[in-house]
């Protein structure tokens, strides 16, 4: 079976070399531009870590749903309704109170946005991939409408006003800085790993995801578990939106998320079975997102990093599925 994986890897490498060839850039030049842009400089590393944060928290959200056997492609929509809810609360209540209540509002908004997908999956059999994608589109349109009209800042262009207080930096020296949001994100991944492995409810969730029928006989209601998993996943995705507002953006605007929720699915798929693997997976995605810009300067269109991610996801999935059936 090993040769099949080798063939897949060889095919992936060939595709990438071919892509570099037609853009007239040598593989060494491309790789060094990618590495230098994402890791080699203080501002580059700062940006890579900044990109890592929402990817990691949203990745935690998607990972949780995946363990329950659900594809939450709606993290994007849940993240943006959460971000808007947080901004609106924090604009009215300044200081720490506003930040805490804003985060709470984001968590509730994200969970509410995910709920229909969970309920329809559990009680109507409608596939969550379709419902979450539809809800994403509705979220983009609804928030777009709100920031263009009812909650628009005076004089602003499809944006809310900026909030007064922000999450502080963890450390800052020269051109390098890390927001407190990054350890929060890492903590979220560690907490999820602990919860899934060491608690009864976490075990029940994995059991329902691995084999709903067996879970039912063991006294776990797989339907209720699915709805709860979706609610929790949406809440965490909403939390990711809140963190993004409080730590980095300070406001909500049209086009707030460049697709963090979608990339989070890639992060979760790459992490595979282990929640702790979300941390390096999110960093890889974050660094590639930053490095893509440096590649673009060299003349390689940034789409190539998306191709790299797609190929990585395929290879990772093929490695895990060889012969044996997947057990969550």
């Amino acid at each position: 079976m090993r040769w099949r994986i080798l063939a897949l890897v060889a095919g992936a490498v060939l595709i990438l070399l071919g892509a570099l060839f037609i853009s007239h850039v040598g593989p060494v030049t491309a790789l060094s531009a990618l590495l230098k842009g994402s890791l080699g400089t203080a501002p580059g590393l700062t940006e890579s870590l900044r990109q890592t944060t929402p990817l990691l928290i949203a990745g935690v959200a998607v990972f949780l749903a995946l363990r329950a056997g659900l594809f939450n492609i709606g993290a994007e929509g849940q993240l943006i309704v959460g971000a808007l809810a947080c901004t609106l609360v924090a604009l009215r209540l300044p200081g720490v109170v506003g930040m805490v209540l804003g985060t709470l509002a984001a968590v509730v908004a994200g969970a509410l946005w995910a709920w229909p997908a969970g309920a329809i999956k559990a009680y109507r059999g409608g596939h969550e991939v379709i419902t979450t994608i539809m809800l994403n589109n509705v979220a983009v349109l609804l928030t777009g409408y709100l920031v263009a009209g009812p909650v628009r800042a005076p004089g602003g262009d499809t944006t809310t006003a900026s909030i007064a207080s922000r999450l502080p930096n963890l450390l800052k020296s020269g051109g390098f800085s890390v927001s407190l949001a990054l350890p929060v994100a890492i903590l979220a991944a560690v907490a999820l790993a602990y919860w899934l492995r060491r608690t009864v409810t976490g075990y029940e969730l994995r059991a329902a995801g691995a084999n709903p029928t067996a879970a039912l006989y063991a006294g776990v209601d797989p339907r209720r578990t699915a709805v709860r998993a979706m609610l929790a996943s949406g809440a965490i995705a909403g939390f990711a939106g809140a963190v993004q507002v409080l730590a980095y953006e300070g406001r909500f605007y049209s086009g707030f998320s460049p697709g963090y929720g979608f990339d989070a699915l890639g992060v979760a798929l790459l992490a595979g079975e282990s929640a702790l693997a979300l941390i390096p997976a999110a960093f890889l995605f974050g660094a590639l997102a930053k490095g893509a810009l440096s590649l673009q300067i060299e003349g390689v269109p940034k789409g190539i990093t998306t191709v790299v991610l797609a190929l990585l996801i395929l290879i990772a999935a093929a490695l895990r599925s060889r012969g044996v059936r997947k057990v969550a």
Binding site: R4, L8, A19, I22, S23, F71, I73, P116, A119, I120, R124, G125, G126, H127, V129, I130, T131, I133, M134, L135, N137, V138, L141, L142, G144, Y145, G149, L265, G266, L269, V300, P301, K302, G303, I304, T305, T306, V307, V308, L309, A310, L311, I313, L314, A317, A318, S321, R322, G323, K326
Partner: protein, 278 residues
């Protein structure tokens, strides 16, 4: 006005119809296919890039060939590597999003000198396709084998079929149909823009689900989605029944309708029994 509405409905539902029939071939054979979006995107990009060099007819042929290749990657991933169908479908979508961005920026495919594609008759073909598919599945050996494989791959194997082979043929058809839907998009707009499919692949999938994985109800669902998009063009910014909803409301209508329809009883319990099984 009503005539405009009818012609716009037809024009807007045609890409959906092609893609939905592509989804039908795949999912009836037992392969979950959320990669329709990526297939359409690939076809649109390939047609736009090839048309200035090789002319419109060859461009459509090239686009279909490339789309079939991408569809076969989904076959390889799910049937040979046994990757989860949804994961493979996501990878297909990502690959298409990144690959088309890459190729289009190198080839400058957004330029408006992309010649018109031969889409005259597309709408008629699209409307007829579900009926052809219906008859094919009901009345031919190949069609029965397709449905049998999707319903229970293990029993199909006992009956002497090779599910992997049936699915190979099915995914070639998926690539062709979704490719036709994708090339239509460039035919209307002349030129490729990133993310120009804008969720039509997922809407087509929703139409297939709402149609209960049956060709004729899926046709009705596609027409309904087309009508909702046409209403948006007609009424956005205007006043209907004394209220003037924002244009975002009209844009959100098909998505909301899908969620509500799935929450209701539509499409329930008609899932091909072997969907997603190896």
């Amino acid at each position: 006005m009503p005539n405009v509405l009818v012609s716009q409905t037809l024009a807007l539902s045609t890409p959906l119809l092609f893609a939905a029939m592509g989804g039908y071939a795949s999912e009836r054979s037992g392969v979950v296919n959320i990669g329709l979006e990526g297939l359409m995107l690939t076809a649109a990009c390939a047609a736009a890039v090839a048309a200035p060099h090789y002319g419109p007819y060859a461009a459509v042929a090239i686009a279909l060939a490339v789309t079939v290749l991408l569809s076969l990657l989904h076959w390889l991933a799910t049937q040979v590597y046994r990757i989860d169908h949804v994961i493979s479908g996501m990878a297909v979508n990502l690959l298409a999003a990144g690959g088309t961005n890459f190729v289009a920026s190198l080839a400058n495919a957004a330029s408006s000198d992309v010649p018109h594609l031969p889409v005259v008759g597309y709408e008629g073909v699209a409307l007829g396709l579900p009926f052809v598919v219906f008859l094919y599945v009901r009345a031919t050996r190949g069609g029965l084998r397709l449905v049998a494989t999707g319903a229970d791959p293990d029993k199909a194997r006992l009956a002497g079929l090779v599910p992997e082979r049936v699915r190979l043929a099915a995914l070639i058809a998926t690539g062709l149909f979704a490719g036709l839907g994708g090339t239509m998009l460039v035919a209307y707009t002349e030129g490729f823009t990133n993310d120009m499919v804008a969720g039509r692949g997922y809407i087509a999938l929703a139409a297939l689900v709402l149609g209960g994985w049956r060709p004729l109800p899926t046709l009705v669902a596609c027409l309904a989605f087309g009508l909702m998009s046409a209403l948006r063009i007609q009424y956005a910014g205007g006043t209907v029944l004394g209220v003037s909803p924002p244009s975002e409301f009209w844009a959100a209508l098909p998505y909301l309708a899908t969620v509500v329809a799935l929450a209701g009883l539509l499409g329930r319990g008609r899932v091909p029994a072997g969907l997603g099984k190896s």
